[in-house]
């Protein structure tokens, strides 16, 4: 499948997850995207870890800050500002739906980042090519940061320094960020030197869409509408 229709399909699944009302529908979408995502093998690990942490946090915290439902499962203390920390069945269900929605959107992005050919996507972009390229470059951030972090840890080991504990790893965040900013600047310079941004650009010919691509596009529209109306 061409990357254009494939990204439309992913966007449609993410949209359907956001619009769907039934938790089973959202869970099914999340499960489908997870099954596709794990096809990337080891590369999917940092994405899955991030999704687990963020969605898990949403699931755990939402019942504590929401006040809906009457079927109390647990009665907690009264906290100033927040109020009573009661957890109801309705709150747990709502938290699970929200967590699954977040997981679905994140998984759709992970599949986009890990499995799609961004070069072909940039070439296929008929409009907003700059934005498509910017997104393609941004998706490289996760694997690049992962590689930088591994390199930095290796260099530290090579000089006898062992990083341990969350605090030790957190200290690497700032140098990693400044390194990525420096790299971004160097890349921007190289792109400008290669003519990026001047008028009259062309594109290498791309392969025409196949029947599968057209079906995927039609399915994308159907999934989004279906998510809104029926799921």
């Amino acid at each position: 499948m061409s990357p254009g229709p494939a990204s439309a399909l992913l966007a449609a699944l993410a949209t359907a997850a956001l619009l769907a009302d039934h938790i089973a529908s959202v869970a099914a979408i999340a499960a489908l995207l997870l099954a596709v995502c794990v096809r990337a093998g080891r590369r999917s690990r940092p994405y899955l870890l991030g999704i687990l942490v963020t969605s898990g946090s949403v699931f755990l915290l939402t019942p504590l800050v929401e006040s809906v439902g009457s079927h109390v499962l647990w009665t907690g203390p009264i906290v100033p500002v927040i109020g009573a920390l009661d957890v109801t069945r309705e709150e747990v269900s709502y938290a699970a739906t929200q967590a699954l929605r977040l997981a679905s959107v994140s998984l759709a992005f992970a599949v986009y980042a890990l499995l799609l050919d961004h070069d072909r996507l940039v070439r296929a972009a008929r409009f907003a090519r700059r934005s498509v390229l910017a997104v393609a470059l941004a998706t490289r951030l996760v694997p690049t940061l992962e590689r930088d972090a591994a390199g930095m840890l290796e260099a530290l080991r090579g000089r006898g320094v062992t990083i341990a504990g969350a605090r030790g790893y957190a200290r690497l965040a700032s140098p990693l960020l400044s390194g990525s900013l420096e790299r971004g600047l160097n890349l921007a310079e190289a792109m400008e030197a290669r003519g990026y941004g001047r008028g009259g650009s062309t594109r290498a010919p791309r392969a025409p869409w196949t029947a599968i691509d057209r079906i995927a596009l039609a399915a994308s529209a159907a999934i989004a509408v279906g998510g809104w109306l029926w799921l």
Binding site: R123, A193, Y196, P205
Partner: protein
Amino acid sequence: MALARAERLSFWYPDATAPALDDVSLELEPGELVLCLGASGSGKSTLLRAFAGLVPHFHGGRFAGRVEVGALDTRRARPSQLAGIVASVFQDPEEQVVLNGVEAEVAFGLENVGTAPRVIAARAQEALGSVGAAHLAGRSTSALSGGELQRVCLASALALRPRLLLLDEPTSQLDPDGADEFLGLVDGLDTAVLIAEQRPARVLDRADRVLFLEAGRIVLDAPREEALRWLARHRPAFLGRELLPEDEPERGDIVCRLSAVSYSYGARVAVSRVDLELRRGEVVALVGPNGSGKTTIAKLASGLLEPAEGRVERRGRAAYLSQDPGRYLVRERCDEEVALGVGGDLARARRALARVDLEPYAHRHPRDLSSGERERLALACVLVTEPDLLVLDEPTRGVDPERKEALAELLRADAPRRGTLVVTHDTSFARSVADRTVALGPVRELVYA
């Protein structure tokens, strides 16, 4: 008529008090190969950027004088407008790759300058072939080695068929054969080429003219023969003279021994059944073509990788210098960065900085240093630990010839205290520093010289 011209060009980077270029005037003729030499920080890269229009458009700062390329004044024409007439390859190939696929990467510039779509693929293939990288066409850029990536960047520049080619240390990650091949190709172009190099010997053989920069000023602009005489008199290190080790080293105990060691990255075999022994007191250079497994052996020797087969024995502390000095930029100050390896001992850190002539930079942020200075900072970071086994992976990238001589002297002076393994493409440096050279062939057999 000159293809490109700089007239009384001076340039100050933002917030800099001293100019990076100071009253520079020169002309570049079509088809001419001009070699630009000078110490780290002398303004070579800035001069190249001025001809690409990146100075001042991209970097800001204060610009005086005038630069013209193909009758376009760089003060009015943006770098993107100059692209196609000019093509640049910068020092670090990893930081100039835009796309994931090699073919798409080479085609990127062609698309930007409006090349007819039907010829883009053919031009990209031709350029890859011309730098011996046709076999990389279907690969992902993220899976390439530094040397392979450098070839792809060169292909991207050549695909544009520029009238002026600006090359900033284009062979720093290529093995000697690859560097020869590339320079032979550049030499045969009709294009004017301005090339900044820290391994000048190869380019000196082919250059029509040589420039020498000192603190932003051109102190030499002469045809090759005259330049060779000037360099011999004033800056002999740039002629690639070899300071051969004077004495036979006194070999001590074994600090590292690799016995029938193998290692693979997934399905790709990196090294197979390698034997290597390193004794205290000797400096061993490990050389070989790109992708022959030098870095893997270095990491196995220093304990950063565990062998899949075979055995690695080490005595005492090992330290490893990575070929990417950007990995030694963890702290906010140079002395704190170096002190990280010795439990925060700033006095030891400053002594280590002094050994690589960086003591005046002790309070500076490591990211404010030039690439050559970063390389020396990284060296200080590993030297400060006083290891029994010192493994250096490409320690001369971005380092000028005079600093290389100083580094060779430093390693020689310290040699009796440890075993030293130097991985390098720089054959001249290898001869200057090593008692023994171990050459890796394409089938990873070791040849002792």
